[in-house]
Amino acid sequence: MVEIKGKALVFGDNINTDIIIPSKYLTTLDPDELAKHAMEGLDPKFYEKARKGTIIVAGKNFGCGSSREHAPIALKHAGVRCVVARSFARIFYRNAINIGLPVVECPSILEKTNNGDELLVNLAKGEILNLTKNLRLQASKLPSFILEIISAGGLVEHLKRRLEKDGKL
């Protein structure tokens, strides 16, 4: 989980949750059904592309808008392995970590990445390698307790472990 490899799919600034998963699909709790409609307003072929295992690259304020956790769930189940953006909206950022979708802030990512570039993200080091362009980019390092949540696969598993340890489960 510390290292993630995938091909970049590049988007711009302010990608909001209504774009990531439109409200008309929120009547389902089935993650695979949500995944089929991820980002469809911007790119009708997103699901097809993401299936191959992708890393989303975006500008500032990724995931702004509603608190719907369906947004990171749709991305994760579509095949997105990680989102690297200049910055994230705060609720999306927390939601992504809580469901085990790694998110990394990297100020220079948008200028240095083209669609299809092969990226290698190291979460613990806070470093991104663009293998296609042979570049090393500095990203924000995740605090250790966030890394723990991500490596547990999300908040549910993390909390279960904690509650079990405390004898509360």
């Binding site: 302010n14 909001n16 209504d18 774009i19 439109p22 409200s23 008309k24 929120l26 009547t27 389902t28 709790l29 307003g41 500032k60 304020n61 702004c64 808008g65 509603s66 608190s67 719907r68 956790e69 369906h70 910055s87 909206a89 705060r90 609720i91 927390r94 939601n95 809580n98 469901i99 605090p143 307790f145 999300g154 908040l155 549910v156 909390l159 279960k160 509650l163 509360k168 489960l169």
Partner: protein
């Protein structure tokens, strides 16, 4: 410390906190609705805890798609009802008893000054209008709150916005907050708290303060907040008998930044497609034809909003090419508007009155848009596809501007009627 820091310090059992610190806080109230609730419930069951941490501190509201608009929504509502029963949760609001979750939280006395409230809805920041620290979270995090009553939060930096001057007729809180978002940008307050102050804010009634704090999240803020005064105390005391322990910013409280604004020359503002920070004075977009005009939502669906719309359309007919959708924010607002004749005035002018729900604002039901259509709306988001077709356009404005535009069939400055 400022009010946000004081509330987070109190909730985490600390004497003092400062921006950037991460605290584990005890939650005073937790709210879910019919979109985020079912996922939180499913996740709560996965955690494996049998009972919620405190059934009296959880509020469940059916609002996004009430009454159920499809068999799928009906299933989600059923999950909510069954959980409320299983966990013995008294604060459960079904169709006919509640309305839009944030309005219900405020009206039913679940928002009290000095408290930390998390809601699985981004507009939970609304509660700052009553001096509470309200912030939006997701469903998994809510499941963890259901299980433990705790949440980790980073103490935010605070931007203090001082507002002075005097509003012109038909210029209101909505125009002010749109203008602020236009200035700071859609991520201008990301992770931060926005504290509103100054003579204009002090003069505002509760409804206007709710509008201000509600839209703080559209600038990315963790919360919008206003120091509670006697108006707030009187309002809250009329809504709950629970003890109230208000907190206020110290005179020497620290802020990341100060912004001073004067509203005297502010004209009605409009957020143009398709981002909330694409804000222009109404004069720049006047004459844009509209197919639909919507008044409702947690931003501007209160009795004061319906009254101003009724004042504008009274004795007139809206343009016959426009659907004028009016959705009171709660059952209480609906009843009050009925009693005052506000609904009759609006309906006679040609408004289609819907039951309290998020409805068209959320693009769930009751007033969706087709390809190529344009809507002017008193709600809070104009993202692509927000109210139906991704090829529709949404302009956000005050209830006065929306009502004036419904009359003329095009975006209209309410001051010119």
């Amino acid at each position: 410390m400022n009010i946000s820091e004081k509330i987070l310090a109190r909730a985490s059992g600390r004497k003092e906190v400062s921006p950037g610190e991460i605290v584990e806080a005890n939650v005073d109230m937790a709210m879910v609705n019919d979109i985020t609730g079912p996922l939180a419930i499913e996740t709560f069951h996965k955690i494996g805890v049998k009972k919620v941490w405190d059934n009296n501190r959880i509020v469940m509201v059916l609002d996004h798609q009430v009454p159920a608009d499809s068999a799928k929504s009906a299933e989600l509502h059923k999950i909510m009802r069954e959980f409320a029963k299983e966990q013995n949760i008294p604060h459960f609001y079904d169709a006919g008893f509640g309305g839009v979750c944030h309005q219900v939280m405020v009206e039913k006395g679940h928002v009290r000054p000095g408290e930390l409230i998390v809601g699985a809805d981004s507009h939970t920041c609304t509660y700052g209008a009553l001096g509470a620290f309200g912030t939006g979270i997701g469903s998994t995090e809510m499941a963890a709150v259901f299980a433990t009553g705790k949440i980790w939060l980073k103490v935010p930096e605070t931007i203090k916005i001082n507002v002075s001057g005097e509003f012109q007729k038909f210029v209101s809180a909505k125009d002010l907050i749109l203008s602020i978002i236009g200035q700071v940008g859609a991520d201008g307050a990301n992770y931060k708290a926005m504290e509103f102050d100054g003579p204009v804010i002090k003069n505002m009634n509760i409804s206007e303060r709710l509008t201000m704090c509600n839209m703080a999240v559209e600038a990315g803020a963790k919360t919008g907040i206003i120091n509670p005064d006697e108006k707030v105390m009187a309002y809250v005391k009329s809504r709950t008998e629970k003890p109230i322990k208000p907190l206020k910013s110290d005179e020497d409280a620290k802020y990341e930044k100060f912004v001073d604004l004067d509203v005297s020359s502010l004209e009605p503002q409009v957020a143009c497609p398709s981002s909330v920070d694409n804000v222009k004075p109404v004069s720049e977009v006047e004459g844009t034809p509209v197919d639909q005009a919507f008044i409702g939502s947690c931003t501007n669906g209160r009795i004061e909003d319906l009254r101003v719309a009724a004042e504008i359309v009274k004795g007139k007919k809206i343009k016959n090419s426009v659907r004028f959708i009016v959705t009171p924010a709660s059952h209480e607002v609906y009843l009050q508007a009925l009693k005052e004749g506000v609904l009759e005035t609006l309906a006679k002018a040609g408004a289609c009155i819907c039951n309290p729900t998020c409805g068209a604002c959320f693009g769930g039901h009751m007033g969706l848009l087709a390809d190529g259509e344009t809507c002017i709306s008193s709600s809070n988001r104009n993202f692509i596809g927000r109210m139906g077709s991704p090829k529709a356009k949404i302009y956000l404005a005050s209830p006065a501007t929306v009502a004036a535009s419904a009359l003329k069939g095009e975006i209209t400055d309410p001051r010119r009627l």
